[in-house]
Symmetry: C2
Subunit: 281 residues, 2 copies
């Protein structure tokens, strides 16, 4: 299997880089081929702009969607973007490793998504608008996994933790960015307390990470509902009989638990599938 | 009142720029002073890295948090970052205007946050770790507002829409980035269908936007729970008696509606405060 590691941290001795090294070692030992995109090391251009389109469909007005479609269809993309797309297409699994900055990716990785997720490939697949999305599309059949280094403590990200549950904060990435073009997304792997981790904590995190890497082909993906699987008859809104009474992000995960208004604030009220609880860290 | 407009779109005729122009016009007519950060126009450096710290606290290992604290405390930040912080500190209200790319900000704006939100100012306020956050901190007392241009239709972002409700997708920004250092965040203003908007649609959007701008000082902020207001006795997790039975992002908004498992998929089950519904677009 080919595994693409996309990572973003400027410091070689960071927890993020340590996870990258562990991943490369474990996956190679299992006989997998590693492909790497070290965004800081590559000096990745983060800003999506007119320079991405040296040959314009419309020289008068910059529509990024229109230009993306034109450049992807005609082989006019910049070489750095095309190289990343080739890595993605070749990969059977994609792992994004990054520190959580302001509850999201570092800008350099967001810019990797903004620029590489082209119209015709990651959206507008087959030039058909939103016909294929959420479970189908240019990256269908690939597995995806986030490995996130979080400065703060795990309790701040617990079901009732002050920051919000990590997996809900990451929904725009897991659901909106990775599942959108068809990837099967595994539950996030997180190292908490990464800002002040000691050798023992790092060893424990590395051991947990090894376990997740060894199960990369076997772990159950998050049960995001595919657009064309019957739950969204009009391709826009959940059918009334699906997750009745539920709304919000977690309604888009099959089998997620509806909280009950019964003064019970236990983990059972966490709006994620039951297999998911306890599997986040 | 001083209002900072931070905006990010590379095309001058974009819907985003149109909203910026309307904002400048309406706010000036009301006697407010406008401060602008046109991130594409400024050629903003999006990537947060070692170049942000020309004088290092630790030349051997790059800890961004440690260097941010040292640079902010000692006046060693880069001039571009310091200029943005001075604008923020001077402003009574901050409006971020951007197109929604992959359910979040463009990379250039994420990089504005990553670099400008310094330790000692936006986090680690007064050098006291997480003592002051969520409702208190370096940006306390300021109002904040997102104006987001969304390519797709509103129904995709409705309570049971396939993308997830817009305000929940934006929680890492509204709650995690703006409320964190103390800003009072107003409900998001969104223009849907921005990818194919016509003149009439744009006129309607501009009219709605004018209304929101005129009420900038009056509209009720999202009722995010302050860390030190009593709802989080240990500063980490909601007290049992607060929003009992609720978990997830929306538990951090006072008065938000708990969905009932009664086969009722109406808007009433939307996990946001009732005053919020219908006020998003």
């Amino acid at each position: 299997m080919k595994v693409l590691l996309v990572h973003a941290h400027p410091e070689r001795t960071s927890v993020t880089h340590h996870l990258v090294e562990v991943a490369a070692e474990v996956l190679k030992a299992q006989g997998h081929e590693i492909i790497r995109s070290d965004l800081y090391g590559m000096g990745w251009k983060a800003v999506f702009d007119g320079r991405d389109f040296p040959q314009r469909a419309n020289p008068n007005r910059l529509s990024l969607m229109e230009e993306s479609e034109y450049a992807f269809a005609n082989g006019n993309q910049t070489p750095d973007v095309e190289a990343e797309q080739r890595k993605l297409v070749a990969a059977d699994a994609v792992i994004l490793l990054f520190p959580l900055w302001w509850y999201s990716m570092p800008a350099i990785m967001k810019g990797w998504v903004d620029r590489v997720w082209a119209y015709g490939l990651a959206y507008g697949y087959r030039g058909a608008g939103n016909t294929y999305r959420y479970g189908e599309g240019g990256f269908a059949g690939k597995r995806a996994l986030l490995a996130v280094c979080v400065g703060g403590p795990e309790k701040d990200y617990s079901p009732r933790g002050i920051n919000g549950p990590l997996e809900q904060l990451l929904f725009p990435i897991t659901h909106g960015t990775l599942f959108f073009p068809g990837m099967q997304v595994l539950p996030t792997f997180a190292v908490y307390g990464a800002a002040a981790i000691d050798a023992q904590g790092m060893a424990e995190a590395a051991a947990a990470w090894r376990g997740r890497l060894e199960r990369l082909s076997d772990d159950e993906p998050i049960a995001f509902r595919p657009q064309n699987g019957g739950d969204y008859p009009d391709r826009h809104v959940l059918a009334d009989h699906v997750a009745p009474g539920q709304s919000g992000l977690m309604a888009h995960i099959a089998g997620s638990v509806v909280p009950k208004d019964d003064n019970n604030s236990s983990a059972a009220a966490f709006l994620v599938p039951s297999h998911f609880i306890g599997d986040v860290s």
